[in-house]
Symmetry: C2
Subunit: 182 residues, 2 copies
């Protein structure tokens, strides 16, 4: 696979989700946090049960998730976040959020959890930590007739750039420690 | 459907999972808690993308879940539980737990979350709230050569019988309020 030759960590062609899953595995195995990706919800229509082998799903459809991508626990706090990746260079379009994700983030904040978004600008290989409260403010601006996106400059201003590393890949818990003084 | 004729709430042929999902919907819509069933993890092998209609999964397999059934947030606390139903009359076999579920409950407790099991004895239509720490003690007893099950008498002794009701069906948060003084 030519695309993998000579890749350094910072440009090895892995998705944000892959990196977050590795990060969470590192956190879990080292007893730092217990945070998991929620499985993609599927509507199963038809299943075959062949003799002496595993059940095979033969017809199923992707369902819209009703919450965010990841949740779990860290230092006694409920953690909940959505991961987003964009190829846009100058802004992040708010239409990438579904209204149920926005409602879910509002609900998590209301119940006292830590909610945020991890946003990757793939073209720059930059990953930002954005508090859900900031995302909600941009969402409200749009609802009130404002811009339908968050500019990259705004992301840089309110977000924290996550410096990728090894072996914790996308060490987003450092941002939580800093922002919430845990 | 004859089996549904004349069913009262207490015997209307719904699964524990159905009841818990209705309970969680009630909690969510009333701003009481935000707790969800995690989707069943699926290994997708083949997907068709028909023109002008939704993607169809044509080959997929059930994967072993790596955690428990439900998690979320209630009164700022991380909540995590497994729901189990049995047709046994006198005991609950511990083989119904997978070792990764046991490890997950240990980890949740360690990180300061509230972990428990909701266990239904279908033959009696009785639902019990059992703290994960009690389940872990029974698990340890087995590991040390003891019984491979929890007797119903033991469940009655350490668990809390959840009185089903309407509209909150299986009001398990009442047990949490009581046990953890929330
Ligand atoms: Mg996402
Ligand atoms: Mg279960």
């Amino acid at each position: 696979d030519k695309s993998k030759i000579g890749n350094t960590y910072s440009n090895r062609g892995m998705s944000l989700e892959d990196d977050l899953n590795l990060t969470n595995l590192y956190y879990l195995s080292n007893g730092i946090a217990n945070i998991h990706k929620k499985p993609t919800p599927i509507q199963i229509v038809k299943v075959d049960y062949p003799k002496r082998s595993a059940a095979v799903i033969r017809e199923a459809y992707f369902k819209q998730p009703s919450t965010t991508d990841y949740n779990g626990i860290y230092k006694e706090k409920y953690i909940d976040f959505e991961a987003k990746e964009t190829n846009n260079k100058s802004s992040f379009p708010l239409q990438n959020f579904h209204s149920h994700q926005i409602k879910h983030m509002q609900s998590v904040i209301k119940h006292g959890g830590i909610a945020f978004v991890i946003l990757k600008f793939s073209m720059y290989n930059e990953i930002y930590f954005l508090k859900a409260s900031d995302i909600l403010a941009f969402w409200d601006r749009q609802e009130n007739g404002g811009k339908k996106s968050i500019s990259k400059a705004e992301v840089e201003q309110v977000g924290i750039l996550i410096k990728t590393s090894y072996p914790d890949f996308v060490p987003y818990l450092k941002c939580i420690d800093e922002l919430y003084q845990l």
